[in-house]
């Protein structure tokens, strides 16, 4: 009798486990999933798209006399309660700046810098490398513009059961030489939901 009950319970448990939510791939092109309180990829897509369109539309990247600006990525501060890799925003922005044909990004300096650019220059005295293949001195191009920004969050109690979470995406483009700001904009992503769901 005991064995029969145990077998029955085991079968039921297996059936329940089998009925669990299956994992599916997200259709990132036309995602119709419900919004979440935390920032997800859709929020970054919207913020990056609106900021890039604002920047390109402003004409701030149009260089007088032609040519392309050299742009370095400065600090993007994450002042949210979430652990965010700010590259989630900046990779898209930088890609579009490059693709616009109006700017080139530098990897020599800034938060998007590539250590190897400097490390390979330390090979000048190495006997293992052909000196003709090592980058010469004074070949790096200094940036003319920097892009920096901030992502921050505000949590507000909306009513007894709901909270409002506001995310601010701010970017600014400044001239290195003059320190003047050529462009800046802000995109707000707001969410309202249950107090039980957390925005971080």
């Amino acid at each position: 009798m005991k064995g029969t009950i145990l077998n029955f319970v085991t079968v039921i448990a297996m059936l329940i486990a089998g009925c669990g939510e299956e994992t599916v791939n997200i259709d990132v092109m036309h995602d119709e999933g419900k919004p979440v309180m935390a920032l997800d990829y859709r929020d970054f897509d919207v913020a990056a798209s609106e900021l890039v369109q604002s920047m390109l539309g402003s004409g701030a990247l149009k260089k007088q006399g032609g040519g392309r600006y050299v742009v370095a990525t400065g600090r993007i501060v994450n002042d949210t309660m979430q652990r965010i890799d700010t590259d989630q925003l900046m990779a898209k922005v930088e890609t579009e700046m490059l693709n616009s044909g109006q700017a080139v990004m530098t990897s020599a300096i800034g938060s998007g810098s590539d250590k190897l650019i400097h490390e390979t220059r330390e090979l000048r005295d190495s006997e293992e490398f052909d000196p003709g293949t090592v980058a010469e001195r004074q070949t790096l191009i200094a940036p003319e513009l920097t892009i920096s920004g901030k992502i921050f969050q505000r949590n507000i109690r909306y009513d007894r059961n709901r909270q409002q979470v506001e995310y601010y995406f701010q970017l600014k483009l400044s001239s290195v030489k003059s320190g003047l700001r050529f462009w800046q904009d802000e995109v707000i992503v707001g969410k309202r939901g249950s107090n039980k769901s957390v925005g971080w």
């Binding site: 036309h30 119709e32 999933g33 419900k34 919004p35 859709r42 897509d45 919207v46 990056a48 798209s49 609106e50 890039v52 369109q53 604002s54 390109l56 539309g57 004409g59 990247l61 149009k62 898209k92 890609t95 579009e96 693709n99 616009s100 044909g101 109006q102």
Partner: protein, 143 residues
């Protein structure tokens, strides 16, 4: 009773006769502007119900393009929300080059937009590169 009806109709006709259209660029919403047939406290529920029955929604009145100072194509879309409800929707603009090929860009994503009831709306999109010569736009319901 018949006389009262006639007086009411006469008052309404006189009321509309006194209505002076304002500058079309300025939009006055219900409860701000003077009453009209669709905003009158008596007729409003009927008109709203009729609008919902007809399934009135958004209408695009104009989609124009121009080249901006940076030689990028700009799309300006204007429309009107014919319904009495605020319509929330998403739109996505795709850009096409001279050969009709799609230009790959991270900016072609579903962007949120909303239009208040019986109100005009407009938005702007900027092409990602000068190679864009045409566009296509799609809309979908805001989930």
């Amino acid at each position: 009773m018949k006389k009262l009806g006639l007086i009411l109709i006469a008052l309404m006709v006189l009321g509309f006769g006194c209505y002076q259209p304002h500058d079309k660029r300025v939009h006055l919403r219900e409860e701000i502007r003077s009453d009209s047939l669709d905003s009158n406290i008596v007729t409003r529920p009927v008109v709203h119900a009729f609008s919902a029955l007809l399934g009135e929604g958004l209408e695009i009145t104009e989609a124009t393009t121009r080249r901006n100072d940076a030689d990028l194509l700009e799309l300006h879309v204007s429309g009107f929300n014919k319904s009495f409800q605020t319509k929330r929707f998403r739109y996505r603009v795709e850009w096409l080059d001279n050969d009709g090929f799609l230009i790959g860009t991270k900016t072609s994503v579903w962007l949120p937009m909303s239009a208040m009831g019986k109100s005009p709306f407009s938005f702007k999109a900027v092409a990602p590169k000068p190679a864009a010569v045409d566009f296509r736009m799609d809309t979908r319901k805001w989930e």
